[in-house]
C-alpha cells in the first residue's frame, strides 16, 4: 500500500509536468490545427534560459526569490522564442498546405536541438539548486518533499492563470473564436495573427515553467532534454483529445500515473513503449481522444 502511494505521488508529480507541456501542443493544435513539433525545444530553451540567468546573474543560491526568478526567466524566454518561431517560421506558411507547416515544425525542432549542441555544448550541465529541497512532512511513511509540492503548486497556479485567460478575458474569447471559425473572426474585428501569437506565447511560457521545474528536481540539462518529455506530452495531448484543454491536463496526469505504475510493478523495460501503445490505441479506436470533439468540415 505504501509502495502504491509512493508510485501515485511520483506519477502525479511527473504527470503535472506532462500536463503543462501537453497544453502547449493542444493550444496550438486547437487554433491552427497543426502539431508544433518545436514545442519540446522551446521547453529545452526555457531550462537553459534559467540556467544562464542563474549562473551569470549570480542567482544560483537556494532562495525562494531565486526560485521565482528562475521560473519567470524560463517562462519569459520560452515565450519570446515561441513568439519568434511562430512569426518567422509558421506565419509565412499560413496559406500553404498543412503538410508544409508540419515539416517546417520538424525542421525548427532539429535546428534547435543541434544548434543548441553547438552553442551550449552537448555535454550535460548541472542545474543550480534554486531551492533547498527538504521533507515537509511524513504521511503514512511517505515523505512529502518541498520540491514536489512546489511542482504541484506552480503547475496549478499556471493552470489557473491559463483558464482565467481563456475563459474570462476578451483575448481568451477571441482565441476560442479563432479556433472555431478563423474565417469569420476578422469580420468581428479580431486580428487573427495577434491572437495566434498570443496562443504561442502562452503555450511556450507554460513549457518554460515546466522545464525549470523539471530542471530543479532533476538537475541535469542538455540540448536533447526536450525529446523524451516532448513525445510523452504529445501523446498525453492526443490521449486527452488534441485541441481540448482539460483533456491535455487529464491526459498528462493519466500518462504520468500509467508510466509510474508500469515501472513500479515489473515492466520497467516498457516505459517508453507505453506512450506509443496509447498513441496507437487512441488513433485506432478513438481518434478524438478522451475529450476531443470531431470538427465538421464545412464547405
Amino acid at each position: 500500500m505504501q509502495e502504491f502511494l509512493q508510485h501515485t505521488l511520483n506519477g502525479l508529480s511527473f504527470g503535472s509536468i506532462y500536463a503543462l507541456v501537453a497544453l502547449g501542443y493542444t493550444m496550438v493544435y486547437g487554433i491552427l490545427t497543426m502539431i508544433n513539433f518545436a514545442h519540446s525545444e522551446i521547453y529545452m530553451m526555457g531550462a537553459f534560459a534559467a540556467f544562464y540567468l542563474a549562473r551569470f546573474a549570480g542567482l544560483d543560491t537556494p532562495s525562494p526569490l531565486n526560485f521565482t526568478l528562475g521560473i519567470l526567466a524560463g517562462a519569459l524566454l520560452a515565450a519570446i522564442i515561441g513568439f519568434f518561431v511562430e512569426m518567422l517560421a509558421y506565419r509565412p506558411l499560413r496559406s500553404s498546405p498543412k503538410m508544409n507547416v508540419l515539416i517546417t515544425a520538424i525542421g525548427v525542432s532539429i535546428l534547435f536541438q543541434f544548434g543548441g549542441q553547438i552553442i551550449f555544448g552537448a555535454d550535460p550541465k548541472s542545474f543550480p539548486t534554486l531551492i533547498e529541497d527538504r521533507v515537509l512532512f511524513t504521511l503514512a511513511d511517505i515523505s512529502i518533499r518541498l520540491v514536489d509540492m512546489l511542482i504541484y503548486f506552480v503547475s496549478f497556479v499556471s493552470l489557473g492563470i491559463l483558464s482565467f485567460i481563456i475563459f474570462k478575458t476578451q483575448t481568451g474569447r477571441a482565441m476560442r473564436a479563432v479556433s472555431t471559425r478563423p474565417d469569420m473572426t476578422p469580420l468581428m474585428g479580431i486580428n487573427n495573427n495577434k491572437i495566434i501569437s498570443t496562443t504561442f506565447i502562452i503555450g511556450s511560457a507554460l513549457a518554460g515553467v515546466a522545464a525549470v521545474l523539471v530542471s530543479i528536481k532533476y538537475p541535469k540539462i542538455d540540448p536533447m532534454m526536450g525529446v523524451k518529455i516532448g513525445t510523452s506530452s504529445f501523446v498525453a495531448a492526443v490521449f486527452g483529445g488534441i485541441g481540448s484543454l482539460h483533456g491535455a491536463v487529464i491526459g498528462g496526469f493519466l500518462l504520468g500515473l500509467g508510466e509510474y505504475y508500469l515501472i513500479g510493478y515489473g515492466a520497467s523495460t516498457y516505459k517508453d513503449a507505453l506512450s506509443f501503445l496509447i498513441l496507437i490505441g487512441v488513433l485506432l479506436y478513438k481518434p478524438t481522444g478522451l475529450f476531443g470533439t470531431t470538427r465538421k468540415e464545412k464547405i
Partner: protein, 387 residues
C-alpha cells in the same frame, strides 16, 4: 582523354601528399561532445599527452607520430563515418578506439573489415575484441568488473542481498549486470530484484520505490555517470541509505557535480587510483594536472597507457624501406599487419594503470581497484587481482 589526364594528375598529387614517410599517422576517435563528453575529452587529453611526450623524445624509430582525432559526438552513426574516414581518407596505420563499449564495437567492425589494428583504451564489454583479430583493448573486461564488485560486496562489505538497476539499452551495463548476478549467486549472495531504466531517463523514483520495498542491502547500478548521479540523488530523497555499487562508467567529475553529497560513500570498480605509490603513476598525475589544470581521470590514464602500448607495437613492427617499389597500399597493409602481430605479443607492459599483458583473446590482463566516492575525490579501498 583530357579528363583522364587531369584525373591522373590529381591522383598523383594526392599520392605524393600521402607519401610523406617521416611521420606515423595514428588515428583516433572519441566522444569530445555529446552525452559522454567527459569520457571523450579525457581520452583525447590522455592520448595527446602521451603522443607529445613520445614526439619530444624523438618519436618512434626517428619518426614523429601525427595524431588525427575526430569527434563522434557520442553518436553511433557519426562513429561509422569518422572511422571510415580515418581508414580510407587519412590512411592511418592504426586506430585508438573509443572510451565506450558500444561505439568501440561500431568502430571495431569497420577496422576489422579493413584489417586496421584498433586498440581501445577503456571499452570493457567482452564482445568488443570478439569482433576479430585486429581489435585489442588495454583494459580489463566486464566479467572481471562484475566479479570484483560481487566479491567486494560479499567479502568486504559482508552484504548478501542486492538489487540490480541496469541501463537496458547499454551493452556495458547489461554485461556487467549479468556477470554480477552470476558471481553474487556463486558467492552465496542473492539478487532480489533486477530492474531496468534507459539512457536519457531522468526519473528513477518508481524503480527505486520498487527496490525500497524489497529490503535489499546494496544496489548495483552499472550505468554511466549521467544517470547514476540522478539515481543517487533520488535514492537519498526516498530515504534509502544502502550503498550503491557500480563500475568504471561512474568515473567522471560530473558525477559529483550533478549528484552533490548524495553520491558520497558509494563504491565503484576502477582501473587505477591516483593514490598509487608507483612513481610512474605519480608523475603522470602531476604532469596531467600541470598541463590541463584538472585531475587525471581514469579515461585519461587508460588512453595514455594505450598510446604507449601502441607506440611499443609500432616500434617493434617491421617497416618497409624506400627502395621497396611495391604499391603503397600493399606496404601500408603489411605495416598494419605487423603492428597487429606486435600488439598481440605485448607482455608485462608497465603503464600508469599498472602492469598488463595481452591474452589470447586480445584483452589486457590487469588488476582492478575499488574506490569510494568522497566528494570530487575517489578514495582507494582495495585492489583485486585477476587471479
Amino acid at each position: 582523354m583530357k579528363k583522364l589526364l587531369s584525373l591522373l594528375a590529381i591522383s598523383l598529387l594526392v599520392f605524393s601528399c600521402t607519401k610523406k614517410t617521416d611521420e606515423i599517422l595514428l588515428g583516433s576517435y572519441s566522444s569530445n561532445t555529446g552525452a559522454t563528453a567527459t569520457f571523450g575529452v579525457f581520452q583525447l587529453h590522455g592520448a595527446q599527452m602521451a603522443i607529445e611526450e613520445i614526439n619530444a623524445k624523438g618519436g618512434i624509430n626517428g619518426k614523429k607520430i601525427k595524431h588525427i582525432n575526430y569527434d563522434n559526438k557520442s553518436d553511433g552513426d557519426e562513429t561509422l563515418a569518422v572511422v571510415n574516414r580515418l581508414i580510407s581518407q587519412d590512411k592511418v596505420v592504426a586506430i585508438m578506439g573509443e572510451a565506450t563499449s558500444g561505439r568501440s564495437k561500431i568502430g571495431g567492425q569497420v577496422a576489422q573489415q579493413n584489417k586496421v589494428p584498433m586498440l581501445t583504451s577503456s571499452a570493457t564489454n567482452t564482445e568488443v575484441t570478439k569482433i576479430g583479430n585486429y581489435i585489442f583493448r588495454a583494459c580489463f573486461i566486464d566479467p572481471f568488473q562484475g566479479m570484483v564488485m560481487a566479491k567486494f560486496m560479499t567479502e568486504n562489505l559482508k552484504l548478501k542481498k542486492a538489487a540490480i538497476l541496469r541501463d537496458i539499452k547499454n551493452d556495458y551495463s547489461v554485461g556487467l549486470s549479468d556477470i554480477f548476478a552470476q558471481k553474487l549467486k556463486a558467492a552465496g549472495g542473492e539478487v532480489v530484484t533486477d530492474i531496468a531504466y534507459q539512457e536519457g531517463d531522468i526519473d528513477f523514483k518508481s524503480q527505486l520505490t520498487a527496490i525500497k520495498a524489497k529490503n535489499v542491502e546494496a544496489i548495483f547500478v552499472p550505468g554511466y555517470y549521467n544517470e547514476v548521479a540522478l539515481i543517487a540523488k533520488q535514492a537519498k530523497e526516498l530515504g534509502m541509505s544502502m550503498p550503491l555499487l557500480g563500475g568504471d562508467g561512474w568515473s567522471s567529475p560530473k558525477l559529483f557535480e550533478i549528484a552533490k553529497e548524495a553520491i558520497n560513500g558509494n563504491y565503484f570498480s576502477n582501473h587505477y587510483t591516483t593514490e598509487s605509490t608507483d612513481p610512474k603513476t605519480q608523475n603522470f598525475v602531476k604532469d596531467f594536472k600541470a598541463k590541463y589544470k584538472e585531475d587525471a581521470d581514469v579515461m585519461a590514464a587508460l588512453a595514455y597507457d594505450a598510446v604507449y602500448l601502441m607506440a611499443e607495437a609500432i616500434k617493434n613492427a617491421k617497416t618497409t624501406t624506400a627502395e621497396d617499389k611495391r604499391d603503397e597500399t600493399v606496404k601500408l597493409q603489411e605495416f598494419r599487419d605487423s603492428i597487429r602481430d606486435e600488439l598481440a605479443k605485448i607482455k608485462d607492459f608497465h603503464g600508469v594503470t599498472g602492469k598488463m599483458s595481452m591474452d589470447a583473446n586480445r584483452d589486457a590482463i590487469k588488476s582492478a581497484v575499488v574506490v569510494q566516492v568522497q566528494g570530487p575525490e575517489y578514495k582507494f579501498i582495495t585492489s583485486v587481482s585477476p587471479n
